[in-house]
């Protein structure tokens, strides 16, 4: 296989954007190409892989062609990849595969979502379409509900507490203070997060990520091309992906995401990197309990010990064992569904090149992204390094 590197990465700020979807995407692409050390134009890439749920349905069909044209890539083969919140994590995998297989030399991978220009009714509709509609949804469940069921079961089986989840919320809000692209840049105290309004018992408002507008893009290149474009490529050393039962009730356990474990296992095996090697991880904390489960499923701590990991501050930037969501994560950086996986890669790119400014993780050599679709029906995990081996 051909070695694959990220040579450029950029994103819009996440939040409530005045710009239209196509303009956010163009902004992200411009930012991405501006970060490339050498000369490369959007029109010269071989393919485009775009993750999006096309939230709102405004351009549900042929989204990729519409967006590629608007960002200087008319005529380039483009496709939209939809796997709910894991859409651009899977786009990243497909872009990686296109280069690793030798089919392409340079590709653009990214994602975009425009979520906050809809009426509340339309927004509620689109927030519900990625769950198990026929059974879960008719039993009253949307994603706050499914993750609440996981949280309560974890508390029952492993003795974790809501305070453990509060530690995650407080940490990620603190991390986002140093991220100018974050949606929620505000200091949240433990007391405030612990007393939030209940959304789906035991989860409160401070356990839930916001709905964000935003776009993110990276350029991947084969080793030969990457070395011509930059002296500091970020190497994609492992790619893993998996699916699981869509409905929570079909899974053998509520306290682990099998898709995460499978995807991580593949990415670790391919990269030769283990969890203990990781300096930073960007995990899919759509709800705080999702980060708790991710720290276990990615092997950062033992199964059942995610609460202790959070309580002991093991994920705090430059303080704990491994920096978890140094960007603020979905919880505070924001969650523009289809852009989230690509946005995680943007953060790792900046961290491994030492370009993360005040939120820089010291001596960052190896990082990981973890992007989950829905309540765990799909997952993509990628391992990145400053060195190719």
């Amino acid at each position: 296989m051909v070695d694959v590197a990220m040579v450029g990465a950029g994103q819009t700020p996440y939040g409530t954007h005045p710009a239209a979807m196509k303009d956010m995407w163009a902004d992200a692409v411009r930012s991405c190409f501006a970060s490339i050390d050498g000369d490369l134009a959007p029109a010269s890439v071989d393919e485009v892989f775009l993750g999006s749920t096309a939230f709102g349905g405004g351009q549900l069909g042929n989204t990729a062609a519409y967006l590629a044209e608007h960002a200087g890539m008319a005529g380039v083969p483009a496709r939209r990849i939809e796997n709910a919140c894991a859409s651009s994590g899977f786009a990243l995998r497909d872009g990686w595969a296109a280069i690793a297989s030798g089919r392409a030399d340079v590709v653009v991978v990214g994602g975009v979502e425009k979520m906050n220009d809809l009426t509340p009714e339309r927004k509620r509709y689109w927030l519900g379409v990625s769950g198990d509609t026929e059974w879960e949804r008719l039993a009253g469940l949307t994603f706050p509900g499914t993750y609440a069921l996981m949280a309560r079961r974890h508390m029952h089986e492993h003795g974790s507490t809501h305070d453990d989840l509060v530690h995650i919320s407080v940490k990620n809000h603190a991390h986002a203070l140093d991220n100018p692209d974050a949606h929620l840049r505000k200091d949240v105290s433990f007391e405030k997060a612990a007393s939030g309004m209940v959304i789906a018992d035991p989860l409160t408002l401070y356990d839930c990520c916001p709905t964000s507008d935003g776009a993110a893009a990276v350029v991947l290149a084969s080793a030969d091309v990457a070395r011509k474009l930059t002296d500091t490529p970020v190497w994609m050393r492992g790619s893993g992906a998996a699916s699981d039962h869509l409905a929570l009730h079909d899974r053998p356990s509520l306290t682990t995401l099998a898709a995460t474990r499978s995807a991580a296992s593949q990415a670790y095996a391919q990269s030769g990197i283990t969890a203990s090697d990781l300096d930073l991880v960007e995990v899919h904390d759509c709800f705080t309990v999702a980060e708790l489960l991710a720290t276990e499923d990615l092997g950062l701590t033992e199964r059942g010990q995610g609460g202790v990991f959070a309580r002991d501050g093991e994920g705090r930037r430059n303080e704990g064992r491994t920096t978890v969501n140094g960007s603020g994560g979905l919880k505070a950086k924001g969650h523009p569904l289809g852009a989230t996986g690509a946005g995680q890669a943007v953060e790792v790119f900046k961290q491994l090149r030492g370009d993360a400014g005040p939120r820089q993780v010291r001596d960052a050599e190896v990082g990981l992204t973890h992007n989950v679709g829905g309540s765990g029906a799909t997952c993509a995990v990628h391992v990145f390094g400053r060195s190719v081996e």
Binding site: T133, P144, R152, L248, L254
Partner: protein
């Protein structure tokens, strides 16, 4: 007659030539339907009570064309309309299965005071109005859309708990080897709580957004069946949301929601 037994969240009693069920919900002394019940669910509950007393076989029923598939899927053991010895009656917030030719003075049916759940008139009016609003044809659901075809094709699994051999529930369309799944037995109507959550009104799915405020939110549970599969179900009737992991529950037929002018029924759970 005083109904002093509990069946499927209702009061029940036996008489010489049949069985009677009635709603336990009352506004003052007036019997009213529970938040998720109606005449059809009472009829199904009466037939289930009749079966629990050792009866099964043909029953003459007066059903609309819309109601017939709901009853057939909910009570797969029941043979409907066979020139039967028994006939099912509906009356105000109750139903009875009687030997043909016998009669019931439904005005004399009362629920034992110890079984009654007394609710405020305002609360009852709110839920009644909410159902009426939800069922209006003009109320196009803003929730995730389930077509009538998809809903109806799943009725045997949704109401009768029909499983695929294995057992797997709900049944799938193909096996891992590409083969066609075989029908298995129906799951039992009792299960154990694996986990639960209470969604506050503002956090409820939008298809429940009209009723949820009147109920103060919704309780949803993952349940495990002794046959192996698990499923997710709403708590029935909204009056008792105090559930815990490892509680045993019973599945009953109730209204689930209305979409595009059509009322949908399904199984909901009540604590045993």
């Amino acid at each position: 007659m005083i109904l002093d037994a509990s069946v499927a969240g209702n009061a029940a009693g036996s008489i010489d030539d049949g069985v009677v069920v009635a709603s336990v919900f009352h506004v003052g002394d007036r019997r009213v339907h529970g938040p998720d019940a109606d005449d059809l669910t009472m009829l199904i509950d009466a037939l289930e009570a009749w079966r629990q007393r050792g009866h099964e076989g043909p029953v003459d029923l007066e059903l609309s064309e819309d109601e017939r598939p709901i009853v057939a899927a909910s009570l797969p053991w029941l043979i409907v309309d066979g020139g039967a010895k028994h006939v099912a009656h509906r009356f105000h917030c109750g139903a009875a299965v009687l030997v043909r030719g016998s009669s019931l003075d439904d005005a004399a049916v009362a629920v034992d005071v110890g079984l009654r759940i007394v609710i405020e008139a305002d609360a009852h009016d709110a839920i009644t109005t909410a159902w009426s609003t939800e069922m209006a044809a003009s109320n196009v659901s803003q929730g995730a859309y389930v077509s009538g075809q998809v809903h109806d094709l799943g009725l045997e699994a949704r109401l009768g708990m029909q499983a695929q051999a294995g057992p797997v529930w709900p049944p799938r369309g193909a096996l891992a080897d590409g083969g066609l799944p075989e029908h298995g037995a129906c799951l039992s109507m009792t299960a154990r709580v694996v986990s639960w959550t209470r969604l506050i009104a503002a956090g409820c799915p939008s298809e429940f957004a009209i009723r949820a405020p009147a109920l103060g939110g919704l309780t949803s549970m993952i349940l495990s069946f002794e046959e192996g599969p698990s499923g997710v179900f709403l708590h029935a009737d909204g009056h008792d949301n105090d559930v815990n992991i490892d509680d045993d529950v019973q599945l009953v037929v109730r209204r689930v929601y209305a979409q595009d002018g059509v009322l949908r029924y399904g199984r909901k759970a009540i604590r045993l």
